[in-house]
């Protein structure tokens, strides 16, 4: 459901752009609000969350969709952990729905999806690998990298069990906002995928804002 946020940009305690193909890792405290903005539209934000005090607890797509009884994420969705606890709640969403079934692109899965000769192309998992390698202080390793959220991506599921990647329903300036229910580490890859429409074949920046 599309709901705008009352938060004003000038009151944010943190603002940072994430260039196309770049990543962001940082902490959001319980009670803080984080917004991810699709600045120019048609971008995908491949996002993971970890319990900041114990990264073995992390976002779980299957627990999230099962508990809400719905495959798409939007306002009101409780983002759940692998221990089935609520990590964040989506408090505003001007896009309308987001995917959490399709996973992230990786060098290795690109070989299967597109071509073995595309393995060199930049990917969300490579983005995450560089982020966790450069930030050992969060205690996150490859073991902790699991099933993510694709904010701003449109992956419809049909009643007879098909799943496909569709043109985005996002647009310039659309955003999704979440209130943290526990201290979380957020890890975002601004998707560099050039082989499908998830970034409109033209990856563009995202912006992260945080409010107390």
């Amino acid at each position: 459901m599309t709901i705008a946020s009352p938060q004003r940009e000038e009151n944010a305690v943190f603002r940072q752009f994430i260039d196309a193909g770049d990543h962001y890792i940082g902490t959001v405290k319980a009670g803080q609000t984080i917004r991810i903005v699709d600045v120019e539209g048609n971008e995908a934000a491949d996002t993971l969350f970890f319990n900041a005090n114990d990264p073995s607890e992390r976002y779980s797509a299957v627990d999230t969709v099962r508990e809400q009884g719905k495959v798409y994420l939007t306002t009101g969705t409780e983002l759940r952990s692998n221990l089935n606890n609520v990590m964040l709640t989506i408090s505003a969403d001007t896009c309308g729905r987001h995917d959490t079934l399709g996973g992230a692109c990786a060098s290795e899965s690109n070989t299967v999806r597109y071509d073995l000769e595309k393995r060199h192309m930049h990917s969300c998992r490579d983005n995450w690998m560089l982020a966790i390698a450069n930030h050992p202080e969060y205690g996150i390793t490859k073991r902790d990298i699991a099933h993510n959220i694709n904010f701003f991506m449109n992956v419809p599921v049909t009643a007879n069990g098909e799943l496909y990647f569709d043109d985005g329903i996002s647009g310039p300036g659309k955003y999704v906002e979440m209130i943290a229910e526990m201290d979380v580490v957020v890890l975002i890859s601004n998707c560099p995928q050039l082989n499908n429409p998830c970034s409109g074949f033209n990856p563009t920046p995202l912006e992260v804002l945080i409010w107390d």
């Binding site: 990264p55 073995s56 607890e57 779980s60 797509a61 299957v62 627990d63 969709v65 099962r66 009884g69 719905k70 495959v71 798409y72 692998n82 221990l83 089935n84 729905r97 079934l101 399709g102 996973g103 992230a104 990786a106 290795e108 899965s109 690109n110 070989t111 299967v112 999806r113 071509d115 073995l116 998992r125 390793t141 490859k142 073991r143 902790d144 699991a146 099933h147 993510n148 992956v155 599921v157 049909t158 009643a159 069990g161 098909e162 799943l163 496909y164 990647f165």
Partner: protein
């Protein structure tokens, strides 16, 4: 497929793990209606490589798993392919039974002290027990298969458990395309609406199958699977 080399029965609410070699098969047969088998897979040579259901679904453009589908690792390789299936739909999004589901459903937890091996176990604990035997833990959990179960989505994306999907005697066969550590349990699906904790087991038969070629049903299922088999061929380059 060959005659089974080994057959066993796993009662409902129990768990097991084993290493299956490349070229081996596992046939699971429901010994009761609406049984459920939770399953995870790891590469025994590199336990960081594990079953990746998002990659599995998106590369085959499917929400359900059935004959012709392959089960992919996060490294673009095929752990196993589904070479026979009497059900047409196995769940890949329902996740696992947690202790809180038991409380919410009013399923009375039964301890070992009270009922010995008829106790009620959760899928979550079952996986943790099996994974710990290989030095793995919570951090190594991933989205699991729920074989025999069906969760359908409507046009709005609303999910529903489909009772009666699995009949007694329904079976599914996996053929392993690389050496694979399999952890499995027979705990109920977390959305199972049964009034009491259901104990529904599965018969398991292990055998062997010839190495697939480009005429194989799973290889031919889609171009993506042909590339997945190419990745496995690369992984086994130089092996017998």
């Amino acid at each position: 497929m060959s005659e089974p080399a080994y057959q066993t029965h796993l009662p409902g609410g129990q768990h097991w793990s084993l290493r299956l070699r490349r070229g081996s098969t596992m046939t699971l047969t429901a010994s009761a209606p609406d049984t459920n088998v939770g399953m995870l897979m790891y590469n025994p040579e590199n336990l960081l490589e594990r079953l990746n259901l998002p990659d599995t679904l998106k590369c085959q453009h499917t929400f359900k798993l059935t004959r012709g589908n392959c089960l992919y690792s996060d490294m673009g390789r095929i752990f196993a392919s589904i070479i026979e299936d009497g059900l047409g739909w196995h769940d890949a999004v329902g996740g696992n039974l947690h202790a809180r589901h038991m409380i919410d459903k009013g399923w009375q937890p039964v301890s070992f002290q009270a009922a010995l091996n008829d106790r009620t176990q959760t899928g979550h604990d079952s996986f943790l027990i099996e994974l710990a035997k290989y030095g793995l833990g919570k951090r190594d959990l991933a989205a699991n298969l729920n074989l025999f179960s069906k969760i359908a989505a409507d046009d709005e994306g609303n999910l529903s458990f489909v009772p009666g999907h699995c009949k007694t005697g329904d079976s599914v066969t996996l053929r392993f395309e690389m050496d694979t550590l399999v952890a499995l349990h027979t705990c109920p699906h977390p959305l199972d609406p049964a009034r009491e904790y259901p104990k529904r087991g599965v018969d398991i038969a292990l055998g062997t199958a010839p190495t697939p070629d480009e005429n194989d049903v799973c290889w031919q299922h889609c171009e993506e699977n042909a590339r997945g088999f190419a990745n496995n061929r690369l992984y086994h380059l130089g092996a017998a």
